[in-house]
Amino acid sequence: MVKKVQHPGVDTDVLLEWYRSMVFVRHFEEQAERSFRRGKVGGYLHLYIGQEAVAVGVLGAIRDDDIIFASYRDHAYVLLRGTDPGAVMAELYGKSTGLCKGKGGSMHLFDVQRGFYGGYGVVGGHLPLAVGAAYALRYDHGDRVCVCFLGDGAMNTGAFHEALNLAGLWGHAGLCPLVLVVENNQYGMGTSVPRSSAVPALASRFDAYDIPNEVCDGMDPQAVYDVVRRGVDEARRTGRPWAVETLTYRYAAHGAADLLQPYRAKSEVQEWRQRDPIAQTEQRLRHAGALDDAKVEAIAAEAERRVQEAVTFAEASPDPAPEELYTDVYGEARDGDR
């Protein structure tokens, strides 16, 4: 589980834990991609590589009992939430021991016990769910918040508009403790933000819903944490939504199946890689004397060991039983159901 920070401000210990988390998530996803190439993982596989600082910074800023909604690019969130990596990998492998019994796959990870309410495949489609969930959290006067991750591309959907207007309205009544985290990774598939959004300054779009908003560097977990921590505290205190646009980048193709990337220059990817969240954090920790070559290697080795354990578990797990095809369609068997 990603290290939670109790007090505002991040110290070296925390940063080291976050570094460890980011390294682990990256190793996990690199393995997932290898498994995809070997035909062990099917369907669509969307890697988060490059964006790890966002998830770490945000999840570091919330409580265990806060809840999360996300899109299909969802591996990092569950892993950082503390879900067993074996169950995540087994889900990618479509095994019975997977998080969702092999029924959801990469795009639909769920760990409701840990407050992760899913991975959704229709862009923007999860936003109304998150707004409603935030309302529910406040319905009986609780103080939990709902965090909703979304991409830059999702902001052009009608669901975004309808949901956020409702969030703004319900926020006026203190009934919508929602933290919106836009991961502006510059593209929705092959379409850049300026080609898809009439106003490329995405955070400003939240003004249309009276939702306070900020922008931050999404390549630095500490920067993300600092901003989001304030937002989370605000949302929790006031019951009003709050939004942040994190400026980040995905290194890999949109999905693992995409081979060509005619929409961007290799040099652009290289430039962003200069600001890699893991490398940057590593530098900072080395500077602070908290990391050296040996420790870096040990952390990587430990990450790889845990990932391979997950793979072994997934490989060894059985396929779902054929009867599983028919379960989970309805909650309770009802008299007369067809």
Partner: protein, 324 residues
């Protein structure tokens, strides 16, 4: 057993369920201050306050999607759509999220939500306000589809819907809200997937649901005068679809007419016919006949609108053909 309108059967059931379970809340356009387009929720804002009776902006995808999120967190939203026509704006939310979340989460999350409102035509509301959508939603596993035709079923099915653990498409009809009938008191519940035999007869089975039940019963009464005795079956829910009751009847009558309000191509009647033949092919003495609305968008002019819809005479004529 009080005599209530369909509207009051719905409203009193909402009240009973809201009193029973604080997790039940209402949401929709103009259901609070305005009282609801068809006044089903009139007075409920005053009774339960704005946290449980939520007036929304014109954002069907938004508030139905919010209902899904609320339901996932344990609330039991009952959402009104002004007409089911507008639900098409939320088709993605209903079909892709509400119906499927339980499945793709491997059973971790469920969506105990009801969406209710008038389905099908009113009087001269023209093409964009008149569509009947039972077959459209009936196609998707993960949804329930209920269509009460009487005040008693309005109560019994709505109660089942609110207590169900999965999303329910609850189809009312503008022409039914004023209909009066006896409504059982107390914890009256009509389970999903149980068709009702609305009239008993030995000569031919008439299968229908929703508002066309009443013209079907009128046709059956008319035919009885001529000595043709109809078994009239009201499907009550379209998903699950209770073919067992239909087939049991057809095995006795050896003849069937299936009536639906609209449709034709890919409607409810075609499915029911297919189901009858799959299970009772050898019992049939004549081809099953269907009576559907005409295969056109609903016109505005009253004369055309009436031509577009089934009616008692068309049903009588179809039955005559079947028993000829």
């Amino acid at each position: 057993m009080p005599d209530l309108t369909y509207r009051d059967a719905l409203k009193s059931t909402l009240v009973e369920e809201m009193d029973r379970d604080p997790r039940v809340l209402l949401m929709g356009e103009d259901i609070g201050v305005y009282g609801g387009t068809f006044l089903v929720t009139e007075g409920l804002l005053a009774r339960y306050g704005p946290k449980r009776v939520i007036d929304t902006p014109i954002s069907e995808a938004g508030f139905i999607g919010c209902g899904i999120g609320m339901a996932m967190l344990g609330l039991r939203p009952v959402i009104e759509v002004m007409t089911w026509n507008f639900s098409l704006i939320a088709a993605d939310q209903i079909i892709q999220n509400a119906a499927k979340i339980r499945y793709f989460s491997g059973g971790q999350a469920g969506v105990p939500m009801v969406i209710r409102g008038p389905n099908g035509a009113g009087v001269q509301l023209s093409a964009q306000h008149s569509q009947a959508l039972e077959a459209l939603y009936g196609y998707f596993p993960g949804l329930y589809v209920a269509a009460p035709a009487t005040p008693a079923d309005a109560r019994g099915l709505l109660r089942t819907a609110i207590r169900a653990s999965d999303p329910v498409i609850f189809l009312e009809n503008a022409s039914l809200y004023g209909l009066r009938g006896e409504v059982p008191d107390g914890d009256y519940v009509v389970p999903f997937g149980r068709a009702a035999v609305a009239r008993h007869g030995r000569d031919v089975t008439l299968v229908t649901h929703g508002r066309t039940l009443h013209m079907t019963l009128a046709a059956a009464a008319h035919l009885a005068a001529d000595g043709v005795e109809c078994d009239v079956i009201d499907l009550r829910t379209l998903r699950p679809l209770d073919m067992a009751t239909v087939v049991e009847s057809v095995r006795r009558t050896h003849r069937a007419v299936v009536i639906e309000d609209q449709g034709g191509l890919y409607g409810v009647a075609g499915e029911v016919m297919a189901g009858i033949y799959e299970r009772a092919f050898d019992d049939l003495d004549a081809p099953v006949v269907r009576v559907s609305g005409e295969d056109v968008p609903m016109p505005y002019a009253r004369t055309l609108e009436l031509l577009a819809q089934p009616n008692e005479a068309k049903i009588v004529e179809a039955v005559r053909r079947t028993v000829a």
